[in-house]
């Protein structure tokens, strides 16, 4: 099928509730896939399965057309699937480059014996990746707590890209941002496409979805109710799917 990452027939239940019911989705390299749906439609559960936070009760994952196991965040990270959650998962008390390298800090050996953090390496590598993505953050030694929302988002994205993300999952990337910053983040998503990365975006904002997505998947009550190319649909149609077509008089 040519998908870079594919989830086939995945199901997840909690107690008596089926949060995701036999859903299949896939994203290609250099493609932006948007997943939309009402609150509680199962979007979050779906991406949490892809990123290994939940393991599915049924279904399978394919990466590069080979079946893979994703049972732990480590598994998906190992495949090159990076997830940026709404809260960005940045340590506010650490600086920019420390966050880019969080959990995978570069070390060097002091006197050939003791492993210490290699600050200058992490600093210069971070500088490079930010330049490559054309992100402007004045001081890489600034703590995250001093940055704006858009800058934080950019740091989170840079972190993923630096670690060779091949698939990037973004949960409501523009939700907490001002207008200007929203545009910058969407520009960044477009440039990720150019780098050949498969992007999955969860969003409520139809405007964002239509401005960056190549394909749109609609979830409703745990099921996939639509999977269409952006050019073959429009906002009204998507909204109808979201609220449930049968209740909409056409």
């Amino acid at each position: 099928m040519g998908f870079l990452l594919e989830a086939r027939n995945v199901t997840k239940t909690f107690g008596g509730l089926t949060a995701v019911d036999n859903v299949s989705i896939g994203v290609k390299s250099g493609e932006v896939l948007a997943i939309v749906g009402d609150n509680g439609a199962g979007k979050s559960t779906l991406i949490k399965m892809i990123s290994g936070v939940y393991s599915p009760d049924a279904g399978s994952f394919y990466f590069d057309d080979k079946q893979v196991k994703i049972e732990h965040p480590r598994d998906s990270l190992g495949l090159g699937i990076e997830t940026i959650y709404q809260d960005l998962a940045l340590a506010e008390n650490l600086n920019v480059y420390s966050n880019i390298f969080l959990g995978r800090e570069q070390t060097k050996r002091l006197l050939g014996l003791i492993e210490v953090l290699d600050h200058s390496y992490m600093y210069s590598e971070s500088r490079k990746i930010l330049e490559r993505l054309d992100i402007k953050i004045p001081a890489l030694k600034s703590k995250i707590s001093t940055l704006s929302g858009g800058q934080r988002q950019a740091v989170a994205i840079s972190r993923s890209i630096y670690w060779n993300a091949r698939v990037l999952i973004m949960d409501e990337p523009t939700a907490a941002l001002g207008i200007a910053e929203q545009r910058k983040v969407l520009d960044l998503v477009r440039s990720l496409k150019q780098h050949g990365i498969g992007v999955i975006i969860i969003s409520h904002q139809m405007h964002d979805v239509f401005s960056v997505a190549d394909r749109i998947v609609v979830m409703r009550r745990g099921q996939k109710v639509a999977d269409t190319k952006r050019d073959e649909t429009n906002t009204d149609e998507i909204v109808k799917y979201i609220v449930g077509a049968e209740t909409v008089v056409t």
């Binding site: 965040p73 953090l117 001081a139």
Partner: protein, 350 residues
């Protein structure tokens, strides 16, 4: 980091602890004769060892956003374990030096246990640190009393006293310098004593762990967990295991404080560190750490501990009852937090 303007007030507010310490030293130098002498300064460090050690261990825990209330009683527990072991070893015919060395090493290892339990409770059973470590107070206190059955440990070899109250260098006019051994003195002769042994041990430990916190991945992860547990988890840090080790660091330092107490006072006592709950935590907070986690450095904690130790020694030399120390430490502690509320966030980390 270029266009950063700091007002003079911010500059002072940021370093208030340092200025406070200097002011404190100047004050006591003026009002107390004999304070600002090599001997006076060494006394500050000599009696401050427990506070230094406990607060440095506590710094690790507080950076992760936790608290360890048990350090004082783990210290007492360790002082008893060390004393008991050394007495048993010497009685079984071991040379005093070997007995002390083996006893100390074993105590260091045993003192990891309370931390292992605290950390496991906090990390795996999700018991709030306050409760887990308070329970550990009861447990370590109980086990300590059980070990000594109400009588302080006695009959330690004389060598323990020599180490605990000795210095690295001695200098007597006409006799030159000697290392470790105090020269025989005639009446009226003076000897200059430099660097108490226990202060050296203390600062070697502190230097090692300061390095770990500042320069290694372990330290970086400690800050990350305190800053944002979720971020730490998702970036693949083994948060649970890390937390367990952090509580072990804290109880290791409590153990070290206990061992040093044993050398210093040549006994083991269950309540050796009971009064240090305030001092240990106060030093960390005066040093600028936040109880919400993510902030704090060893160097600043040492500054906080020095403020307390200087106060104690200064008052002691002045002959003021040490009760006043508690009042002043309480006031400085609250003052420290108030000052920190006023300072805006610093722009850089280093």
């Amino acid at each position: 980091m270029k266009n950063r303007k700091k007002s003079l007030a911010e500059f002072f507010a940021d370093r208030w602890a340092l200025f406070f310490l200097v002011a404190e030293i100047v004050f006591f130098a003026i009002v107390s004769r004999g304070f600002l002498t090599p001997r006076g300064i060494q006394i500050i460090f000599f009696f401050g060892t427990s506070v230094f050690l406990l607060s440095v261990g506590e710094t690790f825990v507080i950076i992760t956003g936790g608290i360890d209330l048990s350090v004082g009683f783990v210290m007492g527990f360790a002082s008893i374990v060390a004393a008991k072991l050394i007495v048993v070893f010497t009685e079984s015919g071991m040379a005093p030096a070997a007995a002390i060395l083996v006893g100390m090493v074993l105590t260091f290892i045993i003192s990891l246990l309370p931390g292992l339990i605290n950390g496991s409770l906090v990390a795996f059973l999700k018991v709030p640190p306050f409760i887990a470590t308070f329970s550990m107070i009861g447990i370590s206190h109980g086990v300590s009393e059980l070990l000594i059955e109400g009588v302080p440990a006695k009959n330690l070899p004389h060598l323990a006293n020599v180490i605990g109250n000795g210095h690295l260098f001695y200098y007597a006019r006409g006799k030159g310098m000697s290392i470790f051994s105090r020269p025989e003195l005639e009446r009226g002769e003076h000897v200059l004593e430099l660097l108490p042994n226990i202060v050296i041990i203390t600062f070697i430990l502190i230097a090692v762990f300061s390095f770990i916190l500042k320069r290694t991945r372990y330290g970086q992860h400690t800050y990350a967990i305190g800053g944002n547990v979720d971020a730490a988890l998702r970036s693949g840090i083994n948060v649970k295991r890390h937390l367990v080790t952090v509580y072990m660091v804290s109880s290791f330092f409590a153990g070290a404080a206990g061992v040093i107490y044993m050398l210093q006072y040549v006994t083991g006592k269950a309540d050796a560190g009971a009064a240090l709950l305030l001092d240990g935590i106060a030093a960390v907070v005066i040093g600028g750490a936040s109880l919400y986690g993510g902030k704090g450095t060893i160097w600043r904690t040492i500054l906080g501990a020095l403020i307390i130790a200087t106060l104690e020694t200064g008052l002691r030399i002045r002959g003021v009852p040490t009760f006043d120390k508690y009042i002043l430490v309480g006031v400085i502690l609250i003052g420290a937090v108030l000052v920190d509320q006023i300072i805006p966030e610093r722009v850089e980390e280093e």
